[in-house]
Symmetry: C2
Subunit: 141 residues, 2 copies
DNA sequence: TTAATAAGAGATTTTTTTGTCTTTTATTGT
DNA sequence: ACAATAAAAGACAAAAAAATCTCTTATTAA
């Protein structure tokens, strides 16, 4: 479903949502260690998210990554599309270019129905709200 | 979700289910052309399916690939697991090793629903029956 | 029984993805 | 101003996935 880079991106964003803020920035090193993820690779991913204004960063001492209030209003759908491109939730599960609701492939109905469920959640839940649920339910990232 | 190889495998099996039989075998070349898929790559995939008795084949003139009646009783779940391995429907969408219903990752519930829905169909519908539906509804493969 | 045919098997190449390292730039506390 | 810090950027390497090519083996029809 998601590329490795995308999985790391989602986890990193959620980690920042829970553990960082304007006043408490976190460096790549710490995030990578906390998530047990390759440091340099994660750095690249964070750069890309930062360039697309999905996360915030500052250089220099006491710098690092965090989520602004604005960032918290974005959704994981934005994150996913930033890393894996805009077609993740639309492309045919069998890779057929002509597949659609009008012209469905043999797996279209089932694939579409259940993928939309995931898509819906990622699209309609702000990252900030998701973070609150994660803290409340003490979920692992 | 599925690797490229797996997508080709599913399509090839469905193609055989609809267009081939014991008495009407089809060669790689024809399948590749019909599905617009790389020939040599498809050949490798068909070999693997054949080794695992998910499709049948004979060499030599008038040889080729087809589905036996036995083959038609298998499911696409078998095909998928043959190519992409047994964890496709079980592994965490974020790649977390500890993720489960008891210890869910932040996306577990929706991701699980998505995959189980698809999994269920692939698991409980015989390839032979699926082929009949495809013919009835004139679906593209 | 031989030439033609088509899958099987193995090796290899290409492309994409993942992961690493080094240098540059911006920022901050002293 | 300056040394230290941390992200940004660019180049590079390794691994995995996708795709291609060649040779071998089995089968069949002439």
């Amino acid at each position: 479903m998601f590329s490795q880079a995308c999985k790391y991106a989602i986890r990193a964003v959620l980690y920042l949502a829970v553990h960082a803020s304007e006043g408490k920035k976190v460096g790549v090193k710490d995030i990578a260690a906390a998530l047990d993820v390759p440091k340099y690779f994660l750095a690249k991913i964070l750069q890309q998210l930062s360039r697309n204004n999905l996360i915030s960063s500052t250089k220099g001492p006491s710098g690092g990554f965090f989520l602004s209030e604005k960032n918290r209003e974005a959704t994981l759908k934005d994150v996913v599309e930033c890393i894996d491109g805009p077609d993740v939730f639309n492309s045919c599960i069998l890779g057929l270019p002509i597949c659609s609701s009008e012209n469905p492939c043999p797996l279209h109905v089932q694939a579409f129905a259940y993928r939309e469920g995931l898509h819906y959640q990622l699209k309609h839940q702000a990252i900030g709200d998701l973070a609150k649920r994660i803290e409340r339910e003490e979920q692992k990232i």
